[in-house]
């Protein structure tokens, strides 16, 4: 059951690789227009969760995913994008031999089914939004790290997704770019895109998220406001090991 | 019935030797050697040239031994010239297919140029017929049926017990962890190619003793090895060997019961069936 206020509802999602349980019975929801952050130590299963939600390149063993009132856990990955759930990748990803405009155009044509002038308009709007217009005829391979990250977002935004999954957008960025990214994420949200954000840089994650979900050992450890999460001794344990939990309590 | 089994086991033995070499190289390097059939042919020609009265006339033992030494070197040279320059580069898989196809073209035409198109035959290691469990067969057939499992067993032991055999497997399974143990990747690749070529050479000598030696004698067995590899999945020695014997037996049975002209159709159907039912190969692992 989901009410219309919920854009994504995940129930009992699970995935095992042999004896290793990578994602273990994870359930959560995202409200429309919300930024939900995901934190957790390395190997906690965060990126695997994204892979399962987008069914790309792996599919879940268990559980179901309701997106915008529709079950999507049987859809093929390209249809999930067409349905309005877009993702970015942690590594620098682009079609490096195509131009910036061509990269974005693919999202418009194959994601949103646009043709002709409508496609061109959508591409130009997305390029403008991500401040890539001056670079539109460059090969994507010539972009900076931050440029590539914005291009990846532009090629998603051109199809006006309802929910954007962002996987460590700040990795490899300098502090100035991180600050810009923060503004950008908030702007995307203000334009009506719900966002699910994985980010290792916790100050950034806590700075933009309304709520944060913490994962550890493939499970959902806890969920709450950034302030609650930052104070939660279990979260501190997950990151630092079993250190002086008492002193954390005292703080 | 029993002659079908003999024929199937002979083909299966030869396919197993060929396919396990391909599989070994694929596992360790992630490339596919399309010149493997040409290597087989080269091994047969060297053995013939050294042993035959029309060549050096040094006798079969010298021929086979020279051929084996030659194959080890040929495998290494092939690796250095046709594989190593492209490893780790973009599209290495495709490029190495091309370079090894070119290598096969070179070797086959070299053989044609040097030895001519006239059919040649290698002396049989053993002659006459023997009877096993009431079935009469050529002694050479029996030798192939016995020798192939012995060699494959030797290969398995080499891969399980020796330092360098373990290193070949380690690179195939986790090359970074292998590097962190000090394994010299380059040297191990070289060794893998040498072992693979040696197996092809043995298969070449076996085929040379049973059938004719021609410059294109490697292409048919190579094709069967492709089927074997699709069947058995690449990279697992037991899977490859089982699949090789299966293909050999299916082929022999269909030639006998349905007719030799329909064997390609049978193999074709089997291939399509496998693709439909088990895209990772009948015995293969999911990637």
């Amino acid at each position: 059951m989901t009410n219309s206020d919920t854009i994504l509802a995940v129930k009992g999602l699970g995935k095992s690789f042999g004896s290793l349980v990578a994602v273990d019975d994870v359930s959560f929801t995202i409200r429309r227009g919300e930024i939900l952050g995901i934190a957790g130590p390395n190997g906690a299963g965060k990126t695997t969760l994204f892979n399962l939600l987008s069914r790309n390149p792996i599919v879940a063993d268990r559980g179901h995913v309701i997106f915008d009132g529709q079950r999507i856990d049987r859809l093929s990955p390209h249809r999930i994008f067409r349905a309005g759930l877009a993702r970015t990748f942690q590594k620098e990803t682009a079609f490096f031999k195509l131009t910036v405009a061509e990269n974005v155009r693919l999202g418009a044509v194959y994601g949103a089914g646009l043709r002709g002038a409508a496609a061109n308009a959508a591409v130009n709007a997305a390029l403008e939004m991500l401040e890539l217009t001056p670079l539109k005829h460059q090969e994507a391979g010539a972009l900076t790290v931050y440029g590539t990250k914005r291009l990846m977002i532009a090629s998603a935004m051109v199809a006006s997704p309802k929910l954007l999954l962002m996987d460590e957008p700040a990795s490899g960025l300098n502090t100035i770019e991180q600050a810009e990214l923060k503004t950008l994420i908030l702007r995307l949200r203000d334009q009506g895109t719900s966002i699910l954000l994985i980010e290792h840089i916790l100050p950034l994650l806590f700075g933009v998220s309304e709520r944060v979900m913490v994962m550890d050992f493939g499970r959902k450890l806890t969920e709450g406001s950034p302030a609650e999460i930052a104070r939660d001794p279990r979260v501190i344990d997950a990151y630092l090991g079993g250190v002086n939990s008492e002193s954390a309590h005292a703080a | 019935m029993s002659s079908v089994i003999v024929a199937g086991l002979v083909s299966g033995s030869i396919y197993a030797l060929i396919a396990s070499g391909l599989s070994l190289v694929w596992g360790a390097l992630g490339v596919f050697n399309f010149a493997h059939g040409a290597l087989l042919m080269a091994g047969a020609f060297v053995a013939w040239f050294v042993s035959d009265p029309a060549g050096l006339d040094l006798g079969l033992t010298a021929g086979v031994l020279t051929s084996m030494i030659f194959m080890i070197a040929a495998g290494g040279v092939l690796y250095v010239l046709l594989v190593r320059p492209w490893l780790g580069k973009p599209a290495a898989e495709l490029t190495v297919i091309m370079t090894t196809v070119a290598g096969a073209m070179f070797l086959e035409n070299l053989a044609l140029y040097t030895f001519g198109a006239r059919l040649k035959a290698l002396d049989q290691v053993v002659t006459g017929t023997v009877s096993v469990a009431g079935t009469a067969m050529q002694a050479q057939n029996l030798l192939v049926i016995v020798l192939a499992p012995v060699l494959l067993g030797g290969l398995a032991l080499f891969l399980k017990l020796s330092k360098h055999g373990l290193a070949i497997r380690a690179i195939a399974q986790n090359d970074e962890a292998a590097r962190l143990l000090g394994i010299r990747i380059e040297r191990t690749y070289f060794l893998t190619f040498a072992v693979s070529a040696l197996l092809a050479g043995v298969a070449g000598v076996m085929i040379g003793g049973l059938f004719n030696i021609t410059p294109s004698m490697g292409s048919d067995p190579l094709l069967r090895a492709f089927l074997v590899v699709v069947f058995g999945g690449l990279g697992s020695l037991p899977g490859t060997v089982i699949a090789a014997y299966l293909i050999g037996l299916i082929e022999a049975a269909s030639s006998y019961y349905i007719g030799i002209y329909w064997t390609p159709v049978v193999l074709f159907s089997v291939l399509i069936l496998v693709l439909l039912v088990r895209p990772n190969g009948l015995l293969g692992r999911a990637p």
Partner: protein
Amino acid sequence: MQLEVESLRTGYGRIEVLHGVSLFVNAGEAVGLFGPNGHGKTTLLRAISGLLPAAQGTIRFDGRNIANGSADAIVEAGIIHVAQASALFPRMTVFEALTLGAYRKAAWPHRKATLEKVFAIFPRLAERRSQNCRTLSGGERQMAAIGVGLMAMPRLLMLDEPTLGLAPKIRQELARQIGLVAQTGTSLVVVDQDVDLLLGLCERLYLIENGMVALEINDRSELQHQDIVQRYFGTAA
């Protein structure tokens, strides 16, 4: 000083991860590295073990610069790096993997004796010797990975997050076993998120942050927990 890293800069492609790291390890000493994820700890180990070329700076081992040396030469010199969450060799038995661990020239002739020592530290590996590595539990995999490293008779052993993803009980067992390794006189570099574990094992700790050494801790009383929480979680805490 057995190992001395000086102003090391390196990274992946266009991304520089280490912006000039300097640290050292004395012979027989155990040193811990900790810090937030993605700040360069693993990258540092990869550069030392020769998996990653150094863009700038030096790495000296016994006074000899090994920066940009090949991985196998560095192993032969005696540095063994046990990689993070190592799946090791999934289709090899524990015994085969351990045997291969002695690939290093200096270690190969002694492999039988070393194996006994490894089994003495990790009795569970003896029980699992004929099982495939793939079928091991998380804790056993770590033990196998460290055991394989020990088979090379390392002079310096580097462990990357040995307790990652392990339940507290197994974590304790593993910590005790790593302690046994430290007692053999092998120098250790241990990367872990569990600062408590590092404090129990190591003489000195380095905090790696933003690709640099942010803090060197020579005495555990210097460690201000609140300070570390602050560094990890930012101002929200």
